[in-house]
C-alpha cells in the first residue's frame, strides 16, 4: 500500500513538473482579486471583464504577435493571501497585473509588483495610499476614497442639508479610509459627526450600534463598508425606526444590496462612477459578458474590461513589455474606454475621477 502511494505521489510530482515545461510563446497577464469569500461576487466581475477583453485581443491576433494568457488568482480579499498571490504571479512570469480588487490587498501586493518591476492597474482599489508611495508602475482606473468620501460629505451637507451624521465603518483600509475622509469634509463644512465607530467586517448584528446612533441624535448614517454588511445594516436601521438617509461608497454598489434591502428601499445614496452601462458603446460589451458568463455584468466588470484594453494597447504602442516603457506610455496620452477617456497623472491616478450620487429606484441603481 505504502509503495503504491509513493509511486502515485511521484507520478503526480513528475506530472506537475512536466506541466511546467510548456514553451513560453505567450504573453502572460495576471488577473488578481477576490473571487471567493465576502466580496467574491463583486470581485469576480472585473476579472471576468478583463478576461473578455483578453479573449477579444487574442481573437484579433494578440499583442506584439503573441497570444495573451490570462493567469487568474484569487486573493480571497485577504492581505496575506494577496502577497502570496502576487509572488505566485511574479514567479509565473506575468508581464503585468490587473488587480487587486480590495484596497487592503492592492496595498501589500503592489510592493511585490514594484520590486519585481511589473505594471499593475487596479480596477477598483480606491484607498489613496495605493498610489501615494511613489511606485512608478502602479496605476488605478477608478477614483480615490478622498474624492469619494468628499463627494458624499458635500452631498450630505449641501443637497440633503444634514447637520448631524453618524459615521460607521468596517475597520478595513477601504471602509475606514472613506469614512475618515467623509468625517473630515463633513466637519470642515460645519457639520457634526455625532458618532464615529467601526464594526468587524463579519459582524451582521448592528442593533447595539444602532441604539448608539439613535442616542447620538444623528439624522443620517454614512457607512464605509461593503454591500454584504450594508444590506442588513440598512434593514436593521429601518426595523429600529430610524428613518434617516443611508449613505455609502462604491463598496455597497452591488445588485446583492438591492436583493437584501428590497426594491422599496428609500434614501439610499451611493457614490459611484457615472452611468456607463446605459451608454450605446457599452452594449456590445454587456451582451458579450452575458453570453459568456450567463450573468449580467455588475458595475465593476466594465472597469476590468477597460483596464485590460488600456494595458494591452499601451503594451502594443510601447512595442515592449518593459515596465518602465509601458508605464511611460500609459502616462503619455489619453486612452479611450467604455468608462470615458482615461488620463493618468504622475502618481498613476486618473486625472479626472467623476463620482456621482446613485440611489435605488424601482429596484435598481439609478443616478440621482
Amino acid at each position: 500500500m505504502h509503495k503504491f502511494r509513493t509511486i502515485l505521489t511521484a507520478a503526480f510530482a513528475v506530472g506537475a513538473l512536466l506541466g511546467c515545461q510548456k514553451k513560453e510563446n505567450t504573453l502572460k497577464i495576471g488577473l488578481a482579486g477576490v473571487q471567493t469569500g465576502p466580496d467574491g461576487e463583486i470581485g469576480t466581475a472585473p476579472i471576468r471583464g478583463s478576461q473578455l477583453a483578453i479573449d477579444e485581443w487574442n481573437a484579433k491576433g494578440g499583442v506584439l504577435g503573441l497570444q495573451i494568457e490570462a493567469v487568474s488568482r484569487d486573493d480571497e480579499g485577504k492581505a496575506n493571501q494577496a502577497v502570496a498571490v502576487a509572488q505566485e504571479l511574479v514567479a509565473a512570469g506575468v508581464k503585468a497585473v490587473i488587480g487587486h480588487f480590495n484596497s487592503g490587498c492592492s496595498l501589500p501586493a503592489s510592493e511585490v509588483y514594484h520590486q519585481a518591476g511589473i505594471v499593475q492597474i487596479t480596477p477598483a482599489s480606491t484607498n489613496p495610499q495605493v498610489t501615494e508611495r511613489g511606485f512608478n508602475q502602479t496605476f488605478r482606473l477608478c477614483g480615490r476614497d478622498d474624492q469619494q468620501g468628499d463627494v458624499s460629505a458635500k452631498f450630505a451637507f449641501d443637497s440633503l442639508e444634514l447637520s448631524k451624521v453618524a459615521v460607521i465603518h468596517n475597520k478595513t483600509a477601504y471602509g475606514q479610509g472613506i469614512a475618515e475622509v467623509f468625517r473630515k469634509t463633513f466637519e470642515a463644512k460645519g457639520g457634526n459627526v455625532s458618532l464615529f465607530d467601526g464594526l468587524a467586517s463579519e459582524e451582521m448584528d448592528f442593533r447595539a450600534t444602532i441604539s448608539a446612533i439613535q442616542k447620538s441624535g444623528a439624522q443620517a448614517v454614512f457607512f464605509g463598508g461593503m454591500y454584504n454588511q450594508g444590506g442588513p445594516f440598512y434593514n436593521q436601521l429601518r426595523q429600529a425606526g430610524f428613518k434617516g438617509a443611508f449613505l455609502g461608497g462604491d463598496g455597497i454598489y452591488d445588485g446583492e444590496l438591492i436583493k437584501t434591502v428590497g426594491a422599496k428601499a428609500d434614501s439610499v445614496f451611493i457614490t459611484f462612477g457615472p452611468d456607463f452601462m446605459a451608454t450605446e458603446s457599452a452594449k456590445p460589451f454587456l451582451a458579450a459578458y452575458k453570453a459568456k458568463f450567463g450573468q449580467d455584468a455588475g458595475g465593476y466588470a466594465i472597469y476590468g474590461y477597460d483596464a485590460a484594453n488600456i494595458l494591452l494597447e499601451a503594451i502594443q504602442k510601447a512595442g515592449t513589455t518593459d515596465a518602465d516603457k509601458v508605464s511611460q506610455t500609459l502616462r503619455s496620452q489619453s486612452w479611450k474606454g467604455l468608462t470615458g477617456d482615461a488620463e493618468f497623472d504622475a502618481k498613476g491616478d486618473l486625472k479626472k475621477a467623476n463620482y456621482v450620487i446613485w440611489t435605488i429606484r424601482e429596484g435598481a441603481f439609478a443616478v440621482r
Binding site: G37, D197, E202, E203, M204
Partner: protein
C-alpha cells in the same frame, strides 16, 4: 428627519438601557445555545469540536431552504413554517454532527489529543467549502416575508419594546435549554451521558454503548446549534458560508468563560458575552466590544482558571 432624543433625560436613558439589555440577551442566548454544543462535546470527550461553527452555519442554510421550499409549496403561515423549518434544520444538523463525529473523532479515539483536534479543523474547512461550492459563495437572504412581520410586530412590556423576532429567540432558547437540562438531569439517557463523561471505561464496562452515547451528544449539540443558526439567520437577515466562524469563536469563548464542560456555565458565559458586547457598543464604541469581551474572559480566568462554574466537575457532560 428624526427629532434627536435628549440624552440627558434619565427616563429615556433608562428605557434605552433596557433595550440594550434585551438586544444583548438576544445575542447572548444565541451564543449560549451554540456554546452548549462545545461544552457537551468537551465534557464527554475532553476535546474541542472546531467544526461546531460550521454545523451552526448548515443549520442557517437548512432553515432558509426549508422556508423557501414551504413558501413555494404554498405554506405561508409563519406560525407553522417557522417551527417546522427550525425542526428540519435541527434534524439535518444533527445528522451532520453525527457524521462529523464518525469521520473526525471516532476513528481517532485512541490517538494523540492533537489528531482529532486537527481533523476537526479539517472538517470545518471541508464543510465551509462544501457549502460555498455546492450552494453559493455569495450571500443568501432570509425570506423577508417571514422576518419582516416578526420584526415589525412589537410588544410593549412597561418601558421596553420587544419585537416578535426577539420573543421567538427568547422563547425558543429557553425551551431548548430547559429541555436539555431535563434530559441531562432527569432521564436515564442523561445519566448515561454523565456516566460516560465521568469515566468512559467504567461506563463501557457497565454495558453502556459509549460510541452511541458520544454520537448522541454530538447530535444534541448540533441540533441546538442549528436552532441558534435558524434564529440568527432570521435576526440578521443574511447568511453566508462563513457565517459560522465568528459565532463559533464567540460561543467557544462563552463556553470557556462559563467553565467548559459545565452546562449552566455555557449559558451564563453566552449571556455575559452577549451583554458585554452590546453594552460596550452602546456606552463606549463598537470598536471596543471585542476588547472588553476578551478582557473579561482573561480576568475571569485569572480569578477562576476553570471558568465561572468550572469546578463542579460532577455535572459535566
Amino acid at each position: 428627519m428624526q427629532t434627536p432624543p435628549n440624552p440627558d433625560s434619565g427616563a429615556l436613558l433608562f428605557s434605552q438601557m433596557l433595550e440594550i439589555l434585551i438586544n444583548g440577551l438576544a445575542r447572548g442566548s444565541v451564543y449560549a445555545l451554540v456554546a452548549l454544543g462545545y461544552t457537551m462535546v468537551y465534557g464527554i470527550l475532553g476535546m474541542i469540536n472546531f467544526a461546531h461553527g460550521e454545523i451552526f452555519m448548515i443549520g442557517m442554510f437548512a432553515a432558509v431552504f426549508a422556508l423557501g421550499a414551504m413558501g413555494s409549496a404554498g405554506l405561508v403561515a409563519v406560525g407553522i413554517t417557522l417551527p417546522l423549518a427550525i425542526l428540519l434544520a435541527m434534524a439535518l444538523s444533527a445528522g451532520f454532527g453525527v457524521m462529523n463525529e464518525r469521520i473526525a473523532y471516532r476513528k481517532l479515539r485512541g490517538a494523540h489529543l492533537l489528531a482529532p483536534l486537527t481533523s476537526a479543523i479539517g472538517m470545518s474547512i471541508v464543510l465551509q467549502n462544501f457549502v460555498m461550492l455546492s450552494v453559493t459563495k455569495g450571500k443568501v437572504d432570509f425570506p423577508r416575508a417571514v422576518a419582516q412581520p416578526l420584526a415589525n410586530t412589537t410588544w410593549s412590556l412597561g418601558p421596553v419594546q420587544l419585537t416578535a423576532l426577539q420573543a421567538v429567540i427568547f422563547a425558543t432558547t429557553f425551551a431548548l435549554m430547559c429541555g436539555l437540562f431535563w434530559l441531562v438531569q432527569r432521564t436515564r439517557l442523561g445519566i448515561a451521558l454523565r456516566a460516560v463523561a465521568q469515566d468512559r471505561t467504567m461506563a463501557s464496562l457497565c454495558g453502556m454503548k459509549v460510541d452511541r452515547l458520544i454520537a448522541f451528544a454530538f447530535a444534541l449539540g448540533s441540533a441546538l446549534a442549528a436552532a441558534a443558526g435558524a434564529m440568527v439567520a432570521m435576526y440578521q437577515g443574511v447568511l453566508r458560508f462563513d457565517s459560522g466562524y465568528m459565532i463559533g469563536l464567540k460561543a467557544f469563548t462563552a463556553a470557556i468563560l462559563g467553565g467548559i464542560g459545565n452546562i449552566p456555565g455555557a449559558v451564563l458565559g453566552g449571556l455575559i458575552i452577549g451583554l458585554t458586547e452590546d453594552l460596550t457598543s452602546y456606552t463606549i464604541k463598537s470598536e471596543w466590544k471585542q476588547t472588553t469581551a476578551f478582557a473579561i474572559l482573561i480576568l475571569v480566568l485569572w480569578l477562576r482558571p476553570r471558568g465561572l462554574l468550572g469546578e463542579r466537575v460532577a455535572d459535566k457532560v
